[in-house]
């Protein structure tokens, strides 16, 4: 048991470890490696999708810094998630008006 990692180690950033580190590529100007600590596929795959959706990322013609690309992707994601929350409220309202007919809603 003694070599098992602590439960909270999956969530809490260890001392002296940065949440995010960025290493520039030594040869290509608009390339680099971002390392995000204590995150998993939940955010990783999501950010990857959002980055691919950015024409300036897949184009790679104009100089576009990876840090700017990630920041844009994350801001877009925030906006999109808030849109989901709004539409969910609207859908719940719509459901509340029609649901008595089915007799299965609260």
């Amino acid at each position: 048991m003694s070599n098992a990692p602590d439960h909270f180690a999956a969530v809490v950033l260890p001392d002296g470890v940065q949440k995010l580190t960025y290493e520039r590529d030594v040869k290509v100007e608009n390339a680099g490696t971002l390392t995000i600590e204590r995150e998993d596929h939940t955010l990783g795959n999501l950010v990857r999708m959002q980055l691919l959706r950015d024409p300036r990322v897949t184009d790679a013609a104009a100089p576009y810094l990876p840090t700017d690309a990630i920041a844009t992707a994350l801001r877009d994601l925030n906006a999109e998630i808030n849109l989901i929350a709004d539409k969910l409220d609207a859908a719940l309202d719509a459901a509340a008006t029609t649901m008595d007919d089915h007799g299965q809603y609260r």
Binding site: D59, I81, K87
Partner: protein
């Protein structure tokens, strides 16, 4: 019984890009459908590259404005324990992130430490503690604070809890004979407290908790069997419950399950003769098809088939397996239309859990954005300071 929300959903305009251009049908099928073939599904991977279809004149990029125009939602089931809704016009990674967050990162309260004063039951101490941890508890989650992570070198198992971040439940049960009970009666009749159930967990307020935890603390279900006793055996324990997330231990997962499926699409490729129609209707175990009387409407001989309940389709492929129906049915799933189900473990209504999942995802993005500001803003005076202030707020959310 689920309501068919297809009619409630506006048609998703995802087929058109920002300038209204669409793909030719064969490419649109690749972009927006997963094909369910006889031996395997094909075309399973989504195409997210912004310039993937540029040669065909279609812009595959995504902006929040376009997302807003495409997103459609409709609720089909809403109870205290279950929420089912449709989301159309968005990509799998976003829906999957929400699913994963519901399972692993929306907080709830569960028993974390068990102090055992006496346990003479047949259930071992550690097994009893494990069973207690899995009991869903109804607590006002917003009223409790997170237990702070231990400092470097501090033993997390002995870290003291405070009245602000934990609740205490007592379980004190002793089994005894019931005088005069018939000897051949079941144990629950012959003995008092033969079964120790979750309803025996009694909340004991710590400090002034009784004043602000006004709804109290109780197990969601009264009848979870924790142990069985025989006369003379006793369980006397004190259990400490704290906030946590499913990522640390599954007992904190607030959902029984959360899952989504892509909307099934069942299309008839050719008109069917009467015999074929009957074969198809009989072949489908999910009862997707209905026989239609088409003779009176100039539809040929006798019966035809209609796809009456495509949502019921489980993609079992019986309808495309039969040689006599070869080429009759086209089975696909819509890649950008999800039927999302949240089943709460009962600790909170599923709508609240989903809203929390959205908040958690926003907070995650914000934490990374703030960390990014810190990295890129190095040496840049005011901007850096502002980023640090935000970082503190972000950490609390996280």
């Amino acid at each position: 019984m689920e309501v068919d929300t297809t009619a409630a959903l506006e048609p998703s305009p995802a087929a058109a890009d920002a300038s209204g251009a669409t793909l030719p049908p064969h490419l649109e099928r690749i972009r927006s459908r997963v094909e369910v073939g006889l031996s395997r599904p094909s075309n399973t991977a989504g195409t997210y590259g912004a310039n993937s279809y540029t040669p065909s004149g279609y812009d595959n990029s995504l902006s929040p404005a376009l997302f807003a125009a495409r997103l459609c939602m409709a609720v089909s089931v809403l109870t205290d324990e279950e929420l089912v809704f449709d989301m159309a016009g968005l990509d799998a990674p976003l829906v999957n992130a929400l699913r994963r967050i519901l399972l692993a990162e929306v907080p709830s309260v569960a028993i974390e430490r068990v102090l055992i004063r006496n346990n003479t039951s047949i259930v071992h101490d550690e097994m009893l503690a494990h069973r207690l941890g899995l009991v869903p508890l109804r607590v006002d989650i917003a009223a409790l604070e997170d237990v702070p992570p231990p400092a470097d070198g501090e033993d997390p198992t002995t870290l003291p809890y405070t009245s602000a971040n934990h609740v205490v439940l007592r379980l004190k049960v002793r089994c005894s004979d019931v005088p005069g009970a018939p000897p051949d009666a079941p144990p629950t009749v012959r003995y008092k407290n033969a079964h120790v159930l979750s309803k025996s967990l009694q909340w004991t307020p710590v400090g002034d908790q009784a004043a602000w935890l006004t709804d109290g603390v109780e197990p969601v279900h009264d009848d979870i069997l924790l142990a069985k006793l025989r006369p003379g055996q006793e369980i006397d324990i004190e259990a400490h419950a704290i906030r946590g997330v499913g990522r640390v231990h599954a007992k904190w997962s607030p959902v029984a399950t959360a899952f989504y499926r892509m909307l099934p699409e069942v299309t008839l490729r050719r008109p069917l003769a009467s015999a074929e129609a009957s074969t198809l209707v009989a072949a489908c175990p999910a009862n997707v098809f209905d026989l239609e009387d088409v003779a009176g409407r100039g539809g040929g001989d006798g019966f035809g088939v209609s796809v009456a309940r495509p949502r019921a389709c489980t993609m079992c492929r019986e309808c495309i397996r039969l040689p006599e129906l070869a080429g009759a049915v086209d089975l696909t799933r819509r890649r950008e239309h999800f039927v999302f189900s949240v089943e709460s473990s009962g600790v909170r209504p599923p709508v609240d859990l989903f809203r929390d999942a959205l908040d958690v995802l926003v907070a995650k993005c914000q934490v990374v954005l703030d960390a990014l500001d810190e990295v890129t803003g190095e040496g840049g005076g005011a901007g850096e300071e502002a980023a640090e202030v935000e970082e503190t707020g972000g950490d609390e959310d996280f």
